[in-house]
């Protein structure tokens, strides 16, 4: 009997021939048994094949820093849905169904994900036409005095579009359903073909506030396929940029959370300090979002000794100012009263839904790619993982702040010991008939890229999983039983990406 999975690690490759292809029932059995044994799904997607659609599943086992890969071939019009047993699969299965016009047999919630045209279909079968965006069978609660609230796609601020449908009884939210797809740009379709500059730019804009997180994952994919290891100095600069990205976004989120509970001092201070962190990134590469910094083979901009000293000074000032701004939150009872007990996601729910990033850690799940599947500089320098217990808005706020303190320490440490040598190395030829996987810990959580190349080394499939893909259902659960007026606050405490899901 073939082994159920083959193993690799973060930034690793596998020859396509090595990956076991199981019959559908054996695949289902192996996947469920892996999940019950503590494995977690990081990616699950379809690839058009000559005789059907091949499904690949990538799983993480954190204590061994191992990634397992298995596959199956779908030749009929449907595939087994395992969502009822393993809810963390639910959106992955909906996505496979939508991208390849398949039916997920037994899926309790078979609805569109992006309202997007199919990527491929079974041989001889015309792909389904996508339904009109936002038009779907929303879950409804019936009864006297039950009412429905529909919000979006266009919201009140400068916010990405998405549709939210609440089932309410008075103030109480019985159910929230999130319907996305408005931001669908066809990224995965455009990521087919020869790896190059255009694809690097697409990676940077999969979720533009996670330019370094996604950009690094793309660079790792190309480096893995070309067997090129970037120099140590480049790894350090990438790490600094990734932590700056986390600092900028966490600062912005903490300010936005303060603003949503009507506490304006911290909101105002953080709005400005967030810009200071963005400007530090611009000091390295000219772009506030880190555009064009991370390239396959290293980084396109080096830090001079003078630049490193200047950055260390700015980090010191920012630490002082942001600590001053955030400390006000913990000293203000009216703020804490609004954060505590609001939007609770239990550890069990977080585990079942497969949440990632600060949202998972706030519910007590101790998972972080920087430690569990270390990449780049994190293989050399550890960064402590912070968790909360209560799973409420307070915990998501506090975890962000604790992470910021660790990121500030990390950057100072890296700046004090920048490795010498070059910052970039030429990249070799990309290997053919290979699967490569790259995971990074963006500020929202786990970013996963998987590439499959054809015989010539072109991408035949490039699968992107933004952390928000795992986490939107966490927001829906956080609202259950809460008040609808708490929605903006809960939403800010997750601050998920629409474009990262819609792609």
């Amino acid at each position: 009997m073939t082994p159920s999975m083959v193993f690799t690690q973060n930034g690793g490759t596998l020859s396509l021939r090595e990956i076991p292809q199981h019959a559908p029932d054996r695949f289902a059995q192996a996947l469920l048994s892996a999940l019950s044994g503590g494995w977690r799904v990081v990616s699950y997607f379809g690839v058009p094949a000559e005789d059907g659609v091949r499904l690949y599943c990538l799983l993480s086992f954190k204590s061994h820093a191992t990634i397992g890969v298995m596959s199956t071939l779908v030749t009929g019009k449907s595939f087994y849905s395992l969502t009822a047993e393993a809810p963390q699969l639910h959106l992955f299965e909906r996505e496979i169904a939508e991208q390849f016009s398949l039916t997920p047999e037994g899926h309790p919630w078979p609805k569109p994900v992006r309202f997007a045209p199919a990527l491929g279909s079974l041989p001889g079968v015309a792909p389904h036409r996508p339904p009109t965006v936002g038009i779907m069978d929303f879950y409804r609660v019936e009864g006297d005095e039950v009412h429905e609230v529909a919000v979006g796609p266009v919201h009140a601020g400068i916010i990405e579009p998405g549709h939210f449908r609440f089932q309410c009884f008075g103030e109480e939210v019985m159910h929230l359903e999130v319907s996305l797809g408005y931001q669908h740009r066809g990224v995965e379709r455009m990521m087919q073909g020869r790896p190059g500059e255009r694809m690097r730019k697409l990676a940077e804009t999969m979720a533009g506030d996670t330019t370094i997180g996604h950009g690094t994952a793309y660079a790792m994919i190309v480096e893995a396929l070309a067997s090129t290891a970037p120099p140590a100095r480049a790894q350090a600069v990438r790490g600094i940029a990734l932590e700056l990205e986390r600092l900028a976004n966490h600062t912005g989120d903490l300010g936005a959370i303060s603003g949503d509970v009507g506490y304006l001092p911290t909101a105002s201070f953080c709005g400005r300090i967030r810009g200071d962190f963005l400007n530090m990134t611009a000091g390295i590469c000219g772009s506030r979002f880190g555009r064009d910094l991370v390239v396959p083979g290293g980084v396109a901009f080096d830090l001079s000794a003078e630049g490193a000293r200047g950055l260390a000074d700015r980090i010191r000032t920012a630490r002082d100012e942001v600590t001053n701004a955030i400390d006000l939150l913990w000293d203000t009872p009216s703020v804490l009263a609004r954060l505590e007990g609001t939007g609770v996601v239990s550890e069990q729910t977080a585990l079942e839904l497969g949440l990632v990033g600060p949202a998972a850690r706030a519910s007590g799940l101790n998972r972080d790619i920087r430690r569990d599947h270390p990449f780049g500089i994190y293989s050399m320098s550890q960064i402590p993982v912070e968790t909360g217990k209560t799973g409420d808005v307070y915990a998501r706020t506090m975890v962000r702040w604790l992470e910021m303190e660790k990121s500030l320490d990390f950057i100072e440490e890296q700046l004090a010991q920048l490795p010498g040598g070059a910052a970039r190395r030429p990249v070799g030829e990309v290997g053919g008939d290979t699967l490569a996987v790259a995971l990074t810990e963006g500020w929202r959580g786990e970013v996963c890229h998987v590439a499959i190349t054809d015989a010539r080394g072109d991408f035949s499939r490039y699968k992107v999983t933004d952390p928000s893909f795992h986490n939107w259902s966490g927001l829906a659960m956080a609202l259950r039983g809460g008040q609808i007026s708490d929605f903006p606050l809960c939403n800010k405490s997750f601050n998920l990406s629409y474009c990262g899901v819609d792609l």
């Binding site: 965006v133 669908h184 255009r198 730019k201 533009g208 555009r291 400390d327």
Partner: protein
Amino acid sequence: MIKAVLARIKQGHRTMAYPEKPLPLPERFRGYPELNGSLCPADCRLCADACPVGAIGCDKGLSVDLGKCLFCAECTAACPHGAISYSGDHSLAANRREDLVIREGEERRLARALDKKMLSIFGRSLKFRSVVAGGCGACEADSNVLSTIGWDLGRFGLQFVASPRHADALWVTGPVTENMREALLLTYQAIPAPKLVIACGACAINGGPFIGSSEVHDGVDGLIPVDLYIPGCPPHPLTILDGLLRLLDRLE
């Protein structure tokens, strides 16, 4: 409470002196391109071939389309002759799509002020309704930042508002996905006339990194008329503010 007061004193007054005084930008900031076509050998297309989005033209002299340009400077890296480079000049916005295509030796065509009648309506108060139509979050973040205390957009009479009914202008970011097309057009219709349209960022102007995708409309052109194009991927907040102040005749 006393802590909040002390923090307020410590954090200080941070509204920037711009536009009275210039705002220093990072040394590596990439702004208005500098072209020197006399250095180009005949039939050389290295820069044009290196551009990921086809922003560079080599026929009839060297040209850069700022509406497409992502300011990644791949062209600079590809050119062994030094014919193309990016200056630190942040002023990029223009009123007409064709003004964004720049050629060596031509006069700069920066955004001009609205006509007298429109200035009398909007010159002292202009309210925007934002629609994100496939944006990646970067243009949105750097539009949002203008409302923070450092930039303090309100001091110019400019504000982002919550409803199209309260707005004078539509603020578009993103390449206009097929799935946002209808919502964008409905929002435009909901804004009372006279109204303006601002296309912020490479995506809204011409599709940005997503140009040519079957799921996007390569920007707002052809769907609604545009009054101000702000190039960049994303535009620096200073580039955005510069364009707005030019439109309102507030910059000399």
